[in-house]
Amino acid sequence: MAGMNEDGQWIVLMGLLAAVGLFFLALVINQSAIVGQTTAEGVIEFPKNDIRDLREAVFDYTDKFRTVPDSDETKKNVQKDIIAISLERKNAVVDFSVGGPQEISGRNLHPIEIRYNNGVTEYHETVYY
């Protein structure tokens, strides 16, 4: 190999560097395509408005039926409405119960237990209303 010219080595080395640089840039683009996918799916998936709406429906129900005994057919029917429609139209298993009034900080409040489960998100709350 004596007498061979080595002038080309730098060119080859620089070419290699450029190739590695391009490879990294391509990697960045490749990864950026999926940025935010999980976040966006998580936000879409989370039933924020469904849960808020259910809470309000339960509060309305409490307003209307708080003095009515549990055995009342009308009261049962409204609760059945909410449970059945939630399952059918929102794919959510829902249950709620309103307890008798308790004195909380000097006010008579009803403990309301709300349970919500749509298979992905599970929500359980006891609120005094």
């Binding site: 450029a18 391009l22 840039l25 391509a26 960045v28 683009i29 950026s32 395509a33 999926i34 940025v35 935010g36 996918q37 976040t39 966006a40 799916e41 936000v43 879409i44 408005n49 469904d50 709406d53 259910l54 309000e56 429906a57 309305d60 129900y61 209307k64 009308t74 029917n77 409204v78 059945k80 409405d81 909410i82 059945a84 429609i85 399952l87 059918e88 139209r89 929102k90």
Partner: protein, 173 residues
Amino acid sequence: MVNDRGQLYTMEGVAAGVIMLLTAYIVVSTTSVYTAGDTHIPDMQLEQLGSDVLAMMDTPDRDGKESQLVGFVKMGTGGGNDLRDAFLNNSRMRAGDPDNDLHAQVFLSYRRSDGSVNTTELSPPSDPGFTGRENAVRVTRWVQLDGNPSGIPGLGYSPRPRAVLVEVLLWRA
């Protein structure tokens, strides 16, 4: 005599040009990539808008008074397109673009006497462009009534207090 010594230089020049263009393209496109996350953002905004409008319509003007939404639902199918028009007007209530591309379709879900849940269109006739294949978002609102809404098929029960679900499909076309 013609020689072809220049050919190699030309090829090298072309290759260099291609590499430079490619690099410039990659560098520029790295900074602005339309990601999968971006596609969901307009949907999310539309859903929030619809949800807010329904919440607003379900809020009574005064304590103890009936809300606008309850009034519309009570009318049932008798109200025609009133509910949808009011909903769309409220959705477009903002400065700037009148947002005429916004379309909506309103449905009502209720439980029948046999326990099954039925869904019916609440504001007939339906939107002329509605195909059912729109990229629509669905917003819902619970409404509690003292009696039966009118014009709803198969309610079954004699009038009783009931909870029904107003569902609005909202899309831009």
